[in-house]
Amino acid sequence: MRGALSSLRRMIDRPDPAPEPGSSPRAVAGSRPAAVIDVRQVTKTYALGDVAVHALRGVSLSVERGEYVAIIGASGSGKSTLMHIIGCLDLPTTGRYLLDGIDVAAMSEDELSDVRNRKIGFVFQSFNLIPRTSALQNVELPLVYGGIRSSAERLHRAQRALTMVGLGDRFDHQPNELSGGQQQRVAIARALVTNPSILLADEPTGALDSAATVELLDIFDRLHTSGRTVVLITHEADVAARAQRVVRLRDGRIVSDEPSLQGSGERRVTLTSEMSPV
């Protein structure tokens, strides 16, 4: 019964097929598809004791498939709150959030779990790997929750994801046996293993040294090049500069939303010629 249901669930919610490797994101953008992330007049208010904290005061943001967006802002600007709402970890107080055209507010808790599992890959500043669990098992976990029953298939996909982020030789290492950069790459592998269309990263380089930061940003570049939607939060200008588009938040409002000055267009061309696409 449960097996039949979960296979039905998989048929309906089949993960988005990966875009053709090497296909130009420009071309996708040119065809004007519906926005994959559509945040409309969202506010978020927390009650912190007796004080109401207005983390977001009416944010509207639309991200199209294949875009690479950086959200920047000082701490307390509401960027993390926005990211949590985009990642379906939190719900807006008012306003609407449409993910792939579907209103998140209408979804049940289990549907939200499935959305987080299939459509969104989340990378955290503090890595958030499960302790005392090997890299491979950490990466395998979303597939377990995604209802992939064949352990051989789960293992194969987890190994492929880890190899893709350059950790093909670290399968059996536990998080405390890995460096910060390696842990973050495990986290990225875990975010990508279900083949989600959106990758969200909340200050992914915040806890990394500069060498690891460069490695990580290269991975994001490659993911973007391969057609994935990437949204990352940062407060470092050089990290934001890698994105196509920079959204700046202050006091819960968007104060600017413009293409990155350095533009990732040229960089992307050089990168694609240097690196094989994912």
Binding site: L89, F122, P131, R132
Partner: protein, 412 residues
């Protein structure tokens, strides 16, 4: 999916070995003590049963006055109009048309406080009784050496005595001594020892080896007199299955002989069979077993509270992990399953260890009782342990499952 839950739960248990072990210890002690204490209660019931069986299941005893277990009680004076059990009663009961299911009868004429002496050694008889020769077959007594009281001894009012092992030991210094033909003085009258009874074993039933038996006629001549009547009459039924028939035949014969109605009869004398004793002892040892089991069940419950406590700590400690799992797509049921399986695994593992401890513990004698494991207690305790895991696991697991992912992730 369920296999994954088990794997994740096992990782959780292995992640904190000491704590898991202590939690399991609580369940283990609970399950083990339920099994062991029920086995002790059961074992004492079995040993009582065995000693009653050794007395003969076809034996009946007639008491003057209300019975041990009947209305009024044996020693109640007010309503009980004690009848006198006489040689005439024994004669009447011996007649086949009165009691066809009775095969043998013997009065038991007891005199208390008689002191025996031999060659300077003295001994206060545990029971000094005047009986018929048939007493030996009714009470399953056998002589180790010499012979039992004969019909001739009875007719001749012979001054002969058959001694129990303890009596021999007290009077002659050693239990293995062969005192046949020796003279023993019982409160002034000298008797010749004609036999020594076989030991009936270490059973706790009274008067087994501390007996001195003489002919009933001699007893009346020298001690109790003819007016007082016998304290008991023992009888044996023709077979264990006719015990109840024999009992009612004895009752009606004695009632009509003494001119009593049935109601009066139940107050004035009583007829007890071994089966009455068995049912009385079964019900009292059942109560004993239930009490022991209840005490043990409380410790099992305490073990269950330990599981709940640890699961609550675990959920709090792993709040962040729960947040991570939810962020990568775990449903509420996944988290619920993970922690519930962990709680149940803890109590199942504890239960298995407890069964082992209970089984090993019951190999040893406890306060003189050889425990006999009751199979039902094993299943009961184990099933109860699983239920306790479920019951006490549901609240912590549900608490984990209903955490909002963002709150769980932010938890420090």
């Amino acid at each position: 999916m369920n296999r994954q839950n088990v794997r994740i739960a096992l990782q959780g248990i292995a992640g904190n070995r000491l704590r898991s072990a202590l939690t399991m210890l609580g369940i283990m002690i609970g399950v083990g003590s339920v099994i062991l204490l029920v086995a002790v209660g059961n074992g004492s019931a079995v040993s009582i049963q065995n000693s009653i069986d050794s007395l003969g299941t076809d034996t009946l005893t007639v008491f003057a006055g209300g019975g041990f277990f009947g209305p009024g009680g044996r020693s109640t004076g007010a309503e009980s109009q004690q009848i006198t059990l006489t040689a005439k009663d024994v004669k009447n009961l011996e007649k086949k048309y009165n009691a066809p299911d009775v095969s043998a009868l013997s009065p038991v004429d007891q005199d208390g406080g008689v002191t025996a002496s031999h060659d300077g050694s003295t001994w206060t008889a545990g029971s000094f009784e005047g009986v018929y020769p048939s007493y030996a077959s009714i009470e399953n007594e056998q002589v180790r050496s010499g012979s039992f009281i004969s019909e001739a001894d009875l007719q001749e009012h012979a001054k002969v005595v058959v001694l129990g092992t303890t009596a021999v030991k007290s009077l002659f210094g050693s239990a293995s001594d062969n005192p046949i033909g020796d003279q023993v003085n019982f409160s002034g009258t000298t008797f010749t020892v004609i036999g020594v009874l076989k030991t009936k074993g270490s059973s706790s039933i009274e008067k087994l080896d501390t007996t001195a038996l003489i002919p009933a006629t001699t007893m009346q001549d020298h001690y109790t007199g003819t007016s007082g009547g016998y304290s008991e009459i023992v009888a044996s039924a023709t077979s264990p299955t006719t015990v109840d028939a024999a009992k009612s035949e004895i009752t009606s014969t004695l009632a009509s002989d003494h001119g009593l109605t049935t109601t009066e009869a139940s107050n004035d004398f009583s007829v007890e069979s071994a089966s009455t004793l068995i049912s009385a002892s079964t019900s009292s040892s059942h109560t004993f077993t239930v009490l022991l089991g209840a005490v043990a069940a409380i410790s099992l419950l305490v073990g269950g509270i330990g599981v709940m406590n640890i699961m609550l700590v675990t959920v709090t400690e792993r709040t962040r992990e729960i947040g991570i799992r939810k962020a990568i797509g775990a449903r509420r049921s996944d988290i619920l399953g993970q922690f519930l399986v962990e709680a149940v695994l803890l109590s199942v593992l504890g239960g298995v260890l407890g069964i082992g401890a209970g089984v090993i513990g019951s190999l040893f004698k406890i306060v003189g009782v050889q425990p006999v494991i009751a199979l039902y207690s094993v299943f009961l305790a184990f099933g109860f342990a699983i239920l306790i895991g479920l019951f006490f696991g549901i609240y912590p697991a549900n608490r984990a499952a209903t955490l909002r992912p963002i709150d769980a992730l932010r938890y420090e």
